[in-house]
């Protein structure tokens, strides 16, 4: 990328030629105040506070909208620039209520910071301030305070350019200018929580966080959202052990600057009083069956020892635990329980890791990084509506279309927010997804513009968000990929850490790193335990059948991180089992009456990693302590293993991750320090073998 050198306050800065003066100043650490500029949005230069003097230009220039030019000389602290800033701030504050003690933004408010830094001479206004509406609900989540608004347009630009809903606009003129929804529209934008993030004053606040806490009272922990597979980087803010809010954290490799409302606002379960706190053992002496963690671990061990033979256990897991939990669980299941019957509950008809899918992942035709969507010229999105299932990815697709000129072709089941940005839209019956995709590939579908676009694409991305119809769909994907070697496929499924579970080897037929069980499992016995089965386990349907007919007598139900409703078919089969061991956050059908029942931690209470669908490993940090003396599930499994086999194994997440990194999952060389803060893409053995020497 071409760079230019400019001088700001006599200090030389080298920046990309596409940068603006403001970006150059920020890079050089020179304080130029700004309010309307947001790195994720287009420049409008309406707030006027970033005015600087540029040598050779007769008037002050707004730094955010002035492109850099080689040899440019910029001065930010001249009397003229200072006076312009002071005047701007004075104008903002003419009608700003200065109710900072009440305002939720107080303490993290850019307007406060700028006002203090600019040090104007106070207000010269003699008339009373204009009073406006103080709390106006714009939608389900966002409350608007018109008095505080300084009209930076960040929110309106967000709904227009980023989320595409266009549900906020400026109304009226002059002193009466306000932001509002169009007549008859309420703010139903699935990304509305971001408005509270981008608002540089306390004008837009979320109903969920309003008046909950001051920023300085909270502890901020950089973590990762586990509500959907995207794995958005977030910051969890907690106050005395209670999670108060989640805000977006900049990560250009995953979520840019945004979060969806689903992830951001679904926090109530963390501090729900009905959370499970103590383990329970059926037949325990205490009235409610609760017992100590050690006793529960012993009861679990006794259940295993009573089971005797191998192959009598099945392990059912929900899809949103951490990689550490999945790795520890599959190692435990294989080495201690002697079972490869590992089932990931991905909903009725949800995806399973089949050989065809593993082969596709190993083929190198999957999207290496989600940021490659930005550079694509043709995007074909197929299956469910991205905005509903993987919300933040839909923002990236829209960005590719609007900012980078990609052509978007949609074949989705329901209409969604991306429809307006698409070059072609067709509705799709998800049950016939594979057929439709085959038709697209063969060109058999009438009036098919998608095939031609894919064939002529220079960098095409096929986003398959279908999930079901496993092998036939994969066959159709294979046909699509044959159209053009420049196509990459991006496989998306429901189930937030599905990719991480499969990477970590939580699959019946595959070990970590998509290594087939057959032939290579026996080599793990020294590491994982004597009972590692040499052959692949049953598929989901077979496990259900085996549980029902009594071939499998015992079941381990594992849920951690978030509340989970088991697929009825699986749960019914699990309830038949003689012995049932359960990990869960909340009481429920699977947990109540289990032989041994362990509480599990929420996603805010564990250190761990999750893996995004592009195999980027992202770090979760513990932000609240959670229920008293809660054992991490991997710790429980390590203790049980110790009782059963005598092997001492560390159960802390950091140790489990070290083992995972050594297990061939493609996470070699990673540790928690290297993963934070932006995550780290995997580098499986087969891509490293293909890459030239010296490549990282």
């Amino acid at each position: 990328m071409a760079t230019v050198k400019i001088k700001i306050n006599e200090q030389e800065v080298e920046v990309p030629a596409s940068a603006t003066v403001l970006e150059a100043a920020l890079k050089a650490g020179i304080d130029v105040p700004y309010m309307c500029y947001h790195p994720g949005m287009k420049v409008v230069a309406v707030c006027r506070v970033c005015q600087v003097e540029v040598k050779g230009m007769p008037k002050l220039q707004t730094a955010c909208s002035t492109p850099v030019k080689d040899g440019m000389e910029v001065f930010t602290e001249t009397p003229a620039a200072k006076k312009a800033r002071q005047g701007t701030v004075e104008f903002w504050l003419v009608n700003h209520p200065l109710d900072c003690p009440i305002c939720d933004k107080g303490g993290e408010c850019p307007l406060q910071d700028v006002t203090y830094n600019v040090r104007g001479g106070g207000s010269r206004l003699r008339d009373p301030k204009v009073n406006r509406v103080k709390r106006k609900p714009l939608g389900e989540h966002i409350v608007f305070d018109a008095e505080r608004c300084i009209l930076c347009w960040r929110c309106t630009r967000f709904t227009q350019d980023i989320s595409g809903s266009e549900q906020l606009q400026l109304v009226n003129r002059g002193i009466r200018t306000e932001i509002d929804t169009p007549p008859g529209v309420t703010l139903t934008d699935p990304f509305s929580g971001n408005l509270a993030d981008v608002c540089p004053v306390g004008s837009l606040t979320t109903r969920e966080f309003r008046f909950k806490s001051r920023p300085w009272e909270m502890t901020a922990v950089e973590s990762t959202c586990t509500a959907c597979p995207v794995g958005c980087s977030n910051t969890l803010w907690s106050k005395v052990g209670v999670v108060q809010r989640m805000t977006a954290r900049e990560n250009l490799h995953v979520n840019d600057y945004w979060l969806c409302d689903r992830g951001r606002l679904d926090l109530g379960f963390v501090n729900d009083p009905s959370r499970l706190v103590r383990p329970k053992v059926a037949g325990s002496e205490e009235s409610d069956g609760s017992t100590s963690w050690e006793d529960a671990a012993r009861a679990f061990a006794a259940t295993i020892q009573a089971g005797g033979k191998t192959g009598t256990w099945a392990v059912l897991a929900s899809p949103h635990a951490t990689n550490e939990e999945y790795f520890a669980l599959q190692r435990f299941a294989r080495g201690v329980l002697g079972s490869s019957d590992l089932v990931l509950d991905t909903g009725p008809g949800g995806p399973e890791l089949s050989p065809a899918r593993a082969a596709l992942i190993r083929s190198g035709r999957t999207l290496p990084a989600v940021t490659d969507i930005d550079g694509a010229d043709v995007i074909f999105q197929f299956g469910g509506d991205l905005e509903a299932t993987h919300p933040v990815y839909s923002l990236r697709v829209r960005k590719a279309v609007r900012n980078h000129g990609a052509r978007l072709h949609l074949a989705t089941a329901t209409s969604g927010g991306l429809d307006r940005d698409a070059a072609s839209v067709r509705r799709l019956d998800l049950a016939k997804a594979a057929d439709t995709l085959s038709k697209v590939a063969s060109g058999a579908a009438p009036g098919e513009p998608v095939r031609d676009a894919l064939v002529s694409a220079r960098r095409g991305v096929v986003i398959v968000n279908a999930g079901s119809e496993n092998d036939r769909l994969l066959g159709a994907i294979g046909d699509i990929l044959k159209l053009n070697p420049a196509l990459k496929v991006f496989l998306l499924d429901d189930g937030s850490n599905l990719t991480g579970a499969w990477d970590s080897g939580f699959a019946a037929a595959f070990l970590p790193g998509y290594t087939p069980v057959d032939g290579s499992a026996a080599s793990r016995r020294a590491d994982w335990g004597e009972r590692v089965p040499a052959s692949a386990g049953r598929s989901r349907a077979d496990v259900v059948a085996a549980l029902k007919n009594g071939t499998i007598q015992n079941v381990l139900l594992f849920n951690s991180g978030r509340p989970w409703v088991w697929t009825p078919e699986l749960l019914d089969a699990a309830l038949v089992a003689e012995a049932r061991v359960s990990f869960d956050l909340f009481p429920g059908r699977g947990h109540d009456g289990a032989t041994v029942a362990f509480p599990s931690p929420s996603m805010a209470e564990v250190d761990g990693t999750v893996t995004a669908p592009d195999h980027r490993v992202l770090l979760l940090r513990r932000s609240v302590p959670g229920p008293e003396r809660l054992w991490h599930p991997a710790m429980v499994l390590a203790r049980v293993e110790n009782i059963v086999t005598g092997r001492a194994r560390p159960g802390a997440p950091v140790d489990v991750f070290r083992d995972l990194a050594r297990s061939g999952a493609g996470y070699e060389g990673m540790n928690y320090g290297l993963i934070r803060p932006e995550g780290r893409p995997w580098s499986p053995a087969w891509t490293r073998a293909a890459a030239p020497a010296g490549g990282s």
């Binding site: 900072c100 103080k134 008046f211 009272e217």
Partner: protein, 156 residues
Amino acid sequence: MADDVRDNVQKGRDPGGRFVLPEIIKGYGVTLREFFTPPTTMKYPEERWTMPPRFRGYPKLVPNPDGSERCVACGLCAVVCPPIAIQLQADETDRSKERYPIKFEIHMGRCINCGFCEEACPVDAIRMSSKYELTTTQLDSLIYSKSILLKDYEAP
């Protein structure tokens, strides 16, 4: 003392108590004089001092005329409090000030009467009162809730 005197007299060291008796008489003289001078102490529980205007007793919350608190729960008193005696939780209210403390507690056992909270308050909702009596036999009763802090507010 009396034993010492008796000892001395009996052992012949001070026959007749020559040095002791005059001192006793002198002492009674002082007692007699004080009997007729006005006392410098105060009969404490029945009588009380009027504290000087700048005295810092324990903090009280300032009520509005309707009895509700003036506080907007901004949390500045809690953050400035050196012994971390103040705990509050804000919530939303329908009144025009929008924000109010649903919980406001001061641990008087921790309070050091420094007056920083009064100084930090942007809405003049907490003031140091002239009250200083906190004696209790139960430590927990030293945690003053919002209702206690609002009760019996006397404008200076």
